[in-house]
Symmetry: C2
Subunit: 430 residues, 2 copies
C-alpha cells in the first residue's frame, strides 16, 4: 500500500485547544457520574462487549493501521517505531483479550478500606471511589487506546485519550470499536473519548486542565514523560527513569547473585525494570563469576576503577554513567565497601523505581529494605519483576516513582481514591 496523505477531514477548523479540552472534559465528567453509578457487573459486561467489538472490527482496524504504517514509512519513522505502530491479527486479538482480562479483574470501587465506630455511635467508613477523569497522553503504540480505556472503565473513571499523530487512524478505528461495544453495554458515550485533534496545543491544554482532568498518565518515551512532568498543572502518575540498582552483598550466594544479575539486565534490557547499575560488595567472594556471563552474552560493562580490575573487558565508566538509564545491553558496575557504601550510592543515584539486594544475611537485607526509599525494594529477586502483571495486579496503567497517591506498579486500585462516609443517627457536635 502506498503512503496516503492525511485525508482532508483531518484538517480541523481552528478551535482553541483549551476550549476544546474544556468541552471534552466537562462532557466526560458528566458521563463519569453515569459510569460510576453503573453496577460493577454492568461495567464488566460492557467491557466484554468492547472486547468482542474489537475482534469484530479487526479488518477495519488493520486497514486503518496500514494507512498509519505507510504514512510512517513515508515520513521516515525508524524500524523500531514502525514496529511499535504495526498491528496484525495476533496483536488485535491480544488487545481484545487484554480488555476481557481487565473486565474480569475485581472491581476496586466500593471496597471498604476501614470502618470505625465513634463513642457517640457514628460509624466512619472509608470506601474506594473512582478518581474521576483520567487523561492518557501516549505515543505510537495503538494498543494503549484499548488498555488504558479498559482500566479506566473498570475502575469507574472517564478517560480522555490523546495518542500520537503517527497512530491517528489506528487509534480512531480502535476507539470506534471500543465505543460501539461500551455503548451497547450502557456506558455513557462521553466516558471514553479520543481527543479529536492532533494539534499539539491540545496536549498543553490537557496538562493545564487543573480541576477538569484529575490525573494525567503519560505512556511513552522519556522525552514525553519529561515534558508532561515539567508542564503539567494536573497531578501526573509516571516514572521518568528506571535507574535500578542491584547490590550484591558479601553474604550473597554467588550462583543466585549471578543468575539474578544476568536476568535483571539481559532478560529484556529495554524495560523500565531492567537493572542499570550493579553494585558489588568489595568482600563478595566471586566478582568475576558475577560479570562473566554478562560479558559472555555481549553486554557492555562500564566500571569504576575497582570494577575494571575484575575483568579487562570492563571499560571505564564516565561520571554520567551512574545516572544513565541505558535501556540496552549496557551496565555500569561499581565495587563498594559494604552495605553502607551501597546505600549511599543508591541514595545519590537511584531514580526511585526498583532497587535490589542479594544477600543471605537477614540483617543486611532488613537494613537495605528499610533504608532504600524506592517505590520497589527487593531482596533476592530480579528487578525485572517490576511489573503490574508480575505483582498479581492483572494489568497496569503504569509504574509511578512519585511519592504521593500510588507508587510502583499502578493498576485498578491506583485509579481510585476514597471518600469518608459518616453514618449517623442524628448526632450533633457538642
Amino acid at each position: 500500500m502506498n503512503a496516503l496523505p492525511i485525508p482532508a477531514r483531518e484538517t480541523e477548523p481552528a478551535i482553541d485547544a483549551a476550549v476544546l479540552i474544556e468541552r471534552l472534559a466537562r462532557d466526560a465528567r458528566a458521563a463519569q457520574r453515569g459510569l460510576a453509578a453503573m453496577p460493577s457487573i454492568a461495567r464488566q459486561a460492557a467491557l466484554e462487549q468492547a472486547a468482542a467489538a474489537l475482534r469484530r472490527a479487526a479488518p477495519q482496524i488493520l486497514e486503518a493501521n496500514a494507512v498509519d504504517v505507510a504514512n510512517g514509512a513515508a515520513a521516515g519513522l525508524s524500524g523500531a517505531m514502525i514496529d511499535r505502530l504495526r498491528l496484525d491479527p495476533a496483536r488485535i486479538e491480544a488487545m481484545a483479550a487484554g480488555v476481557a482480562e481487565v473486565a474480569a479483574l475485581d472491581d476496586p470501587v466500593g471496597r471498604i478500606i476501614d470502618e470505625t465506630r465513634r463513642p457517640n455511635g457514628m460509624v466512619l467508613r472509608r470506601v474506594r471511589v473512582p478518581i474521576g477523569l483520567i487523561g492518557i497522553i501516549y505515543e505510537s503504540r495503538p494498543n494503549v487506546t484499548a488498555d488504558a480505556a479498559a482500566l479506566c472503565v473498570r475502575s469507574g473513571n472517564a478517560v480522555l485519550l490523546r495518542g500520537g499523530s503517527e497512530a491517528v487512524h489506528s487509534n480512531r478505528a480502535i476507539h470506534a470499536a471500543l465505543a460501539e461495544g461500551l455503548a451497547a453495554g450502557g456506558v455513557p458515550a462521553d466516558a471514553v473519548q479520543l481527543v479529536p485533534t492532533q494539534d499539539r496545543a491540545a496536549v498543553g491544554a490537557m496538562l493545564a486542565a487543573s480541576g477538569l482532568i484529575d490525573m494525567i498518565v503519560p505512556r511513552g518515551g522519556k522525552s514525553l514523560v519529561a515534558r508532561v512532568q515539567a508542564d503539567a498543572r494536573v497531578p501526573v502518575l509516571a516514572h521518568l527513569d528506571g535507574i535500578n540498582h542491584t547490590f550484591v552483598d558479601r553474604a550473597a550466594d554467588p550462583a543466585m547473585a549471578r543468575d539474578i544479575a544476568f536476568n535483571a539486565k539481559l532478560r529484556r534490557p529495554g524495560v523500565c525494570g531492567s537493572m542499570e547499575t550493579l553494585l558489588i560488595d568489595a568482600l563478595f567472594p566471586d566478582p568475576h563469576g558475577l560479570v562473566e556471563p554478562l560479558l559472555a552474552a555481549g553486554c557492555e560493562l562500564r566500571g569504576d576503577a575497582r570494577a575494571c580490575a575484575i575483568d579487562p573487558r570492563i571499560k571505564p565508566a564516565d561520571p554520567a554513567d551512574w545516572d544513565t538509564e541505558y535501556l540496552d545491553a549496557v551496565l555500569s558496575v561499581a565495587v563498594v565497601d559494604g552495605l553502607d557504601a551501597a546505600l549511599a550510592h543508591i541514595a545519590c543515584h537511584a531514580s526511585g523505581h526498583t532497587d535490589a539486594i542479594v544477600t543471605g544475611d537477614a540483617d543486611a537485607a532488613e537494613r537495605f529494605l528499610g533504608a532504600v526509599d524506592s517505590a520497589i525494594v527487593m531482596h533476592n529477586a530480579s528487578s525485572q519483576f517490576a511489573d503490574g502483571g508480575e505483582f498479581g495486579l492483572g494489568a497496569e496503567i503504569g509504574i509511578a516513582t512519585g511519592r504521593l497517591h500510588a507508587r510502583g506498579p499502578v493498576a485498578l486500585e491506583g485509579l481510585t481514591t476514597y471518600k469518608w462516609l459518616v453514618l449517623g443517627s442524628g448526632q450533633i457536635r457538642p
Copy 2:
C-alpha cells in the same frame, strides 16, 4: 509593652530565595533519613522532650509573643488577627499537651498495608513510609509551628516551617524550644527547620521546589490557600472552600433535621465544616420548624423563591450565594424537588468538603452516599463533625478536598506513602 521595631538582625543579607530553600531542603532531606531510621519509640520520646521543652520555655515564648502582639497592634492588625496571634500560659500549655498527644499516637510508619505471595514464592508487601519533606506555609497562629512539627516528626517526615511575618518572634521562640527538646531526643537538627527569612520570595521558592519538597500544606485563610494552589509545582494538601450542603429529605425526622441543621450552621459558623447551604425537599413536612430556630438565633437566611415563602425573614439569595462560603451566621436555603434535584444542586455547587443528608429512608440515604462525591458524605449527622479529632485520628494536619493521595481530615496516615517490598529467594523472571 510598646510596639518594638523589628530589630536590626531581622534584616537578612540579600540571598536568593531559591538558593536558600534548596539548601534548607537538601539539609532537611538528609536529616529525614536519620529521622526515619529512628525507632518509633525514640521519635515518640523526642516529642515528649519537645513538649517538656515548650513548657520550660513558656516565659521566653510569652516574651517573644508580646513583641509580635505589640508590633501587630502598632501595624493596625484587626482584633481577630491579634487574638489568633496572642499566646498566654494556657495556650502554651495546650500547645505542649498537643505535642505530647501526637507523641502518643500510633506510628503509621512500617505498618503493613497488604501482603501477598506469588505462585513463584515471592512475597510482596506494601509498607507505610514517610513522604519525605513536608512544607508548611501558615499565617498568624503560632501554635501551627508546634502542631505541624509534631505531626511530621511522629510520621518520620522532615518539615520546613514558613510562618507569617506577624508571628516571627513567637515562631522563633517556639521553634527554638522544640528544637532543643527534639535534639535532646536524638532527632537530627535539620529535620525541623523554620525558614529563617520573612522574604516573601521564600514562599514562592518553596512552592516551586519540585523534587525537593514532597508536599506543601497551607494553613490559613482562603487567599493563602488560593495562592498556594495556583502557584505550587509541588503537590498541595488543602481545601480552598467548605461549601457544605445539608439536604433535608422528605423522609427526615423533623426534630432530628432541625437539630442537625442548627448545629451544622451555628455551633461554630466559622469552621470549614460549617453548613453553608440548606437544601429542603419540597415534600418535607415542616420547613418552618427547620428554619425557625436558625432565624430566632439571629442567623441570616438567604433563599430562593420557594424558601423565601417559608418565612418573611428569609431574604432573597443572589446567584453568587450558592457558591459562597460565609464562615459566618449566614445560610443560603433552597427548596428542591426531591433527592435528584438535591444531588444536581450539590454536583454543581459543592466544594467537595462535607455534604450531608438527613432522612429516615435508607434507600435515599444510600443513593446520596453513593452519588455525592465529596471527601466526606454524611447521613443523619452534623457537618461540624468534619474534623480529624472527631474522626478519631488524634490530630490533623488539615482537611483535603483534592482527589488524590488523601481526602477529608488528614492525620498521620496521610503524611505517609508506601513502598513495595519484594521478598524473594533467588527468583528470576522467565
